[in-house]
C-alpha cells in the first residue's frame, strides 16, 4: 500500500511540475507579450517619441516610413494629423513638474512666440473631446493669441474666467493639451526640435 501511495505521489508531482512549467510559459508569453506591446503602442519609447519639457511628440507620425509602433498608436488613437515632415503635434498631459493636468487646478502656459508658419494650442479632456463652455473657446492660435510686449504669450487654463488668453476647462477632469506647429522644426531631427522652445506649463493653484 505505501508503495502505491508513493507511486501516486510521484506521478502527481510530475503532473504539478508540468502544469507549473505550462503556467510559467503562458504567463510570460501572454503578460509579457501583450503588456509590452500595449505599453510601446500607447506610451511609446525613446525610439518612437521625443519629449521636450512636458510635451511629447511621436517622431514618425503620418510618415510613410513610420515604425509599427507609431502606426499602431495612431490607428488606435483615431486621429488624422499631418505628417511630421510638415507639422509637429505635441501632446502634454502633465505640467512642467510632471503632475497630471486636471481641471481642478489653474495652469499658466508661458512661451516664446513659436518659430513656425502657424501654431495652435487646444485643451481637450483625456479622451480627446473638446471641453464644452459657454464662451465657446477651445484653443488659441498664432493668429488669435495676444502677445506680451516681449513677444511672449501666456495662456491661462482655468475653470473660471481670467483676463487675457483664457482657456476654460470646466469640470473636464483630466486634461490633455495639444500643440500643433505647422512647418516648425522637424521633431525627427533631434537637435532642431530641442532648439525650439516649447511653452512651459506651470500649476498656479488647485482647489
Amino acid at each position: 500500500m505505501p508503495f502505491v501511495l508513493h507511486q501516486l505521489r510521484k506521478k502527481a508531482l510530475i503532473v504539478i511540475n508540468r502544469l507549473s512549467d505550462l503556467a510559467i510559459f503562458l504567463g510570460v508569453v501572454l503578460i509579457g507579450g501583450l503588456i509590452s506591446s500595449w505599453y510601446m503602442v500607447s506610451a511609446g519609447s525613446s525610439l518612437t517619441t521625443r519629449s521636450i519639457g512636458p510635451w511629447v511628440t511621436w517622431m514618425a507620425e503620418g510618415r510613410s516610413d513610420a515604425d509599427p509602433y507609431t502606426r499602431a498608436h495612431f490607428a488606435r488613437a483615431g486621429t488624422l494629423n499631418l505628417s511630421t515632415e510638415l507639422a509637429g503635434t505635441y501632446i502634454a498631459s502633465h505640467d512642467s513638474e510632471g503632475i497630471r493636468l486636471h481641471s481642478s487646478c489653474e495652469y499658466s502656459i508661458k512661451g516664446q512666440e513659436i518659430d513656425a508658419r502657424w501654431w495652435s494650442i487646444t485643451a481637450f479632456d483625456d479622451k480627446g473631446r473638446l471641453i464644452p463652455n459657454p464662451a465657446g473657446r477651445y484653443s488659441f492660435t498664432s493668429d488669435t493669441v495676444t502677445l506680451e510686449p516681449d513677444n511672449t504669450f501666456i495662456v491661462t487654463l482655468a475653470r473660471d474666467a481670467r483676463s487675457g488668453n483664457w482657456l476654460p476647462t470646466g469640470g473636464a477632469g483630466r486634461l490633455t493639451l495639444v500643440l500643433t506647429v505647422l512647418e516648425g522644426p522637424d521633431p525627427a531631427i533631434g537637435g532642431e526640435a530641442e532648439a525650439m522652445s516649447l511653452p512651459s506649463i506651470k500649476r498656479v493653484a488647485c482647489r
Binding site: 511540475n17 507549473s20 512549467d21 510559467i24 510559459f25 504567463g27 510570460v28 508569453v29 501572454l30 509579457g32 507579450g33 501583450l34 509590452s36 506591446s37 500595449w38 510601446m40 503602442v41 503620418g62 510618415r63 510613410s64 513610420a66 509599427p68 509602433y69 502606426r71 499602431a72 495612431f74 490607428a75 488606435r76 488613437a77 483615431g78 486621429t79 488624422l80 499631418l82 505628417s83 515632415e85 510638415l86 507639422a87 501632446i91 508658419r117 502657424w118 495652435s120 487646444t122 481637450f124 479622451k127 480627446g128 473631446r129 473638446l130 471641453i131 464644452p132 465657446g136 477651445y138 484653443s139 488659441f140 492660435t141 493668429d143 488669435t144 490633455t176 495639444v178 500643433t180 505647422l182
Partner: protein
C-alpha cells in the same frame, strides 16, 4: 548566507526549467511583434473608419465648425475648418483641386491607415492652386490617354499621386466669425471628382 538562501529556495520551490523560460521569452517576442503589427489591421477606431460613414465617395464636403457637439475625430483641432473628400480610385482616377490662399492652409492625402501620402501647405505671399490626379497604387489599364485619342492635352499642370483609397483633407485656419465667409468661399472652390477615362 546567499548559498543557504538559494539552497532553501531550491528545496522549497522547484526552479523553472531553463528551456521553458527561453522558449517563453521567444514566444513572448513573437506575440509582441504580431500584436503590434495587427493593431492597425483590426482597429475599429481608426480615423478612416470614423469618417467613412460621414463622407460621400469622390465628393468634397465642407465640415461644419468643430465644436464639442460636432467633433468627428478625437483631438481634432477646432481652430481649423476642414473640407474632406473620401476618394476611391479603384474605378478610375480621381481629380482633386484645392486653392490654398495663404499661411496655415494645407492639403493632405491620408490613406486608411493614416499615412500621409501627399501634403502641401499654403504660402504667405500668394495663393496656390493645386491639381492632383489620384491613381490606384496597383497597375491598372484605364483606357487610352487623351493624346492617344487625338484630344488636346490638358493645359493645367497636374501632380499624380498613387493611392487607391483614403481621405483628402483641406485644412483652413479659422480666424474667427468675421473671416468665416471668406474661408468658406475659398473652401467651396475645392473639388474632388472621379475623372472620365
Amino acid at each position: 548566507m546567499m548559498t543557504s538562501v538559494f539552497r532553501w529556495l531550491t528545496k522549497k520551490f522547484r526552479l523553472p526549467n531553463l528551456r521553458i523560460v527561453l522558449a517563453a521569452l521567444c514566444a513572448m517576442g513573437i506575440l509582441h511583434i504580431l500584436t503590434t503589427l495587427t493593431v492597425p489591421l483590426f482597429s475599429v477606431t481608426t480615423a478612416f473608419a470614423r469618417l467613412e460613414p460621414l463622407l460621400p465617395v469622390n465628393e468634397m464636403k465642407i465640415l461644419p465648425p468643430v465644436t464639442p457637439d460636432a467633433q468627428p475625430l478625437p483631438f481634432l483641432t477646432p481652430d481649423v475648418r476642414y473640407a474632406m473628400c473620401r476618394y476611391d480610385s479603384t474605378g478610375g482616377p480621381v481629380r482633386v483641386t484645392a486653392v490654398l490662399p495663404g499661411r496655415g492652409w494645407s492639403l493632405a492625402l491620408h490613406t486608411p491607415s493614416g499615412e500621409n501620402v501627399y501634403a502641401a501647405t499654403g504660402r504667405d505671399d500668394r495663393s496656390t492652386t493645386l491639381h492632383l490626379r489620384i491613381v490606384p497604387a496597383e497597375e491598372r489599364f484605364f483606357g487610352l490617354s487623351p493624346e492617344a485619342r487625338g484630344m488636346a492635352r490638358p493645359t493645367t499642370r497636374m501632380q499624380t499621386v498613387e493611392s487607391t483609397r483614403g481621405i483628402a483633407i483641406i485644412r483652413a485656419p479659422d480666424k474667427g466669425q468675421a473671416y468665416r465667409h471668406i474661408i468658406e468661399a475659398d473652401l467651396l472652390q475645392a473639388d474632388c471628382r472621379s475623372e472620365p477615362f
